[in-house]
């Protein structure tokens, strides 16, 4: 009996590893945005949101990804921003 398989290593199928690694590397390959440029966008987005709300910096996630366009299913690059808001500032 293969003990490694028995003790759960088998659920980490190597093809899933390949797929995950591939997906990550492709996000960067597919964008013409340099990491520096992305950092600049991030900084600006955070600054704008902060004017209206307090945000959770720990949970912040802004990155490039690839998704299918809803209207026709054509794959497109998208900038996805997940900015958790802890408290909305009161309107003046």
């Amino acid at each position: 009996m293969d003990l490694f398989k028995f003790f759960g290593r088998s659920n980490e199928k190597s093809k899933n590893l390949a797929k995950e690694r591939l997906k990550l590397v492709l996000i960067h390959d597919r964008s013409d945005l340099s990491p520096k440029f992305l950092e600049m966008i991030k900084g600006d987005m955070i600054r704008v949101v902060k004017e209206y709300a307090e945000i959770d910096h720990e949970g912040l996630d802004i990155r490039l990804t690839r998704m299918k366009r809803e209207s026709d299913g054509v794959p497109i690059s998208a900038l996805v921003a997940n900015i958790p808001i802890t408290k909305v500032k009161s309107h003046k």
Partner: protein, 264 residues
């Protein structure tokens, strides 16, 4: 007017030349007048895979430089009616042909042939640019490896930028035993990532190695699973709707047992 199709991949060694040879031969076997064109200048190989290496007099550079007439440059495959090869130059440099010259050449070929299958060199430099210059459609060959799929993705982007949108995918060297164990990305995994239309799947098959040794594309053989896969691809190219080949049922357990018993 014929249709020009470029076979490309980005990464080397995934089976572009073998695929070109088999699709070209398969289309000729279906009765279509077909020419296979090797654009890998300096590293020509389509001639040996087709088994026509001893018949080359002129090559693609001679044709575009008009050292010879187009008809003189075409090598007729005597084994298959309507099948021709235009070989790459072996001694010249990749810059010997320009994209404009390729467009002109392919346009000429489209007057004579129903299908023009263009074998692209590995890489994304000028040789690649030349190979796609005159093409109407592009087929991407990949294997189920991270590196090949990554390069395929890059090439898809480059093709779209050049106006060759909607390329089709050929997945080569799938090993069903490894896919089953979860140790190889399967067809769905790859389609999911590349998000392009699938044209066909070729199993990893010893028969291809053997047929390449002989200089006779595997598609001409009756039984190998890879030959059936290539024939299906050819029929799909001509517009026929063909069911997906079951890559596991190439050989039943019973016939494997018989083989095992008699091979001793």
């Amino acid at each position: 007017m014929g249709k020009a199709i470029v076979i490309t991949s980005g990464k080397g060694g995934v089976g572009k030349t073998t695929t070109t040879a088999n699709i070209g031969t398969g289309l000729a076997m279906l009765g279509y007048k077909t020419v296979v064109v090797d654009t890998d200048i300096g590293l020509r190989n389509l001639d040996v895979v087709m088994g026509l290496e001893n018949r080359i007099v002129y090559d693609i550079v001679d044709v575009v430089e008009k050292t010879c007439r187009l008809k003189q440059g075409l090598i007729r495959d005597k084994r298959h009616e309507g099948l021709y090869l235009l070989a790459a130059a072996q001694t010249k440099d990749k810059t010997a042909v320009k994209p404009e010259q390729m467009v002109e050449l392919i346009d000429e070929l489209k007057k004579e042939f129903e299908y023009i299958i263009i074998d692209s060199p590995a890489g994304i430099e000028q040789g690649f640019q030349n190979s796609i210059a005159g093409a109407d459609e592009a087929y991407i060959v990949t294997t189920p490896e991270i590196s090949a799929v990554r390069d395929a993705d890059r090439v898809i982007g480059l093709l779209e930028a050049k106006g060759l949108s909607n390329p089709k995918l050929i997945i080569n060297r799938i090993r069903q035993d490894m896919v089953k164990k979860g140790d190889m990305m399967n067809v769905d995994d790859i389609i999911d990532i590349l998000a392009i239309e699938l044209l066909g799947v070729i199993p990893d098959d010893e028969a291809i190695v053997i047929s390449t040794n002989k200089g006779e594309p595997v598609v001409t053989e009756e039984n190998p699973l890879s030959a059936k896969a290539f024939r299906n691809i050819c029929r799909r190219i001509t517009g026929e709707k063909v069911e997906w080949l079951n890559l596991e049922n190439g050989e039943s357990k019973f016939s494997k047992l018989i083989k095992l018993l008699f091979s001793k």
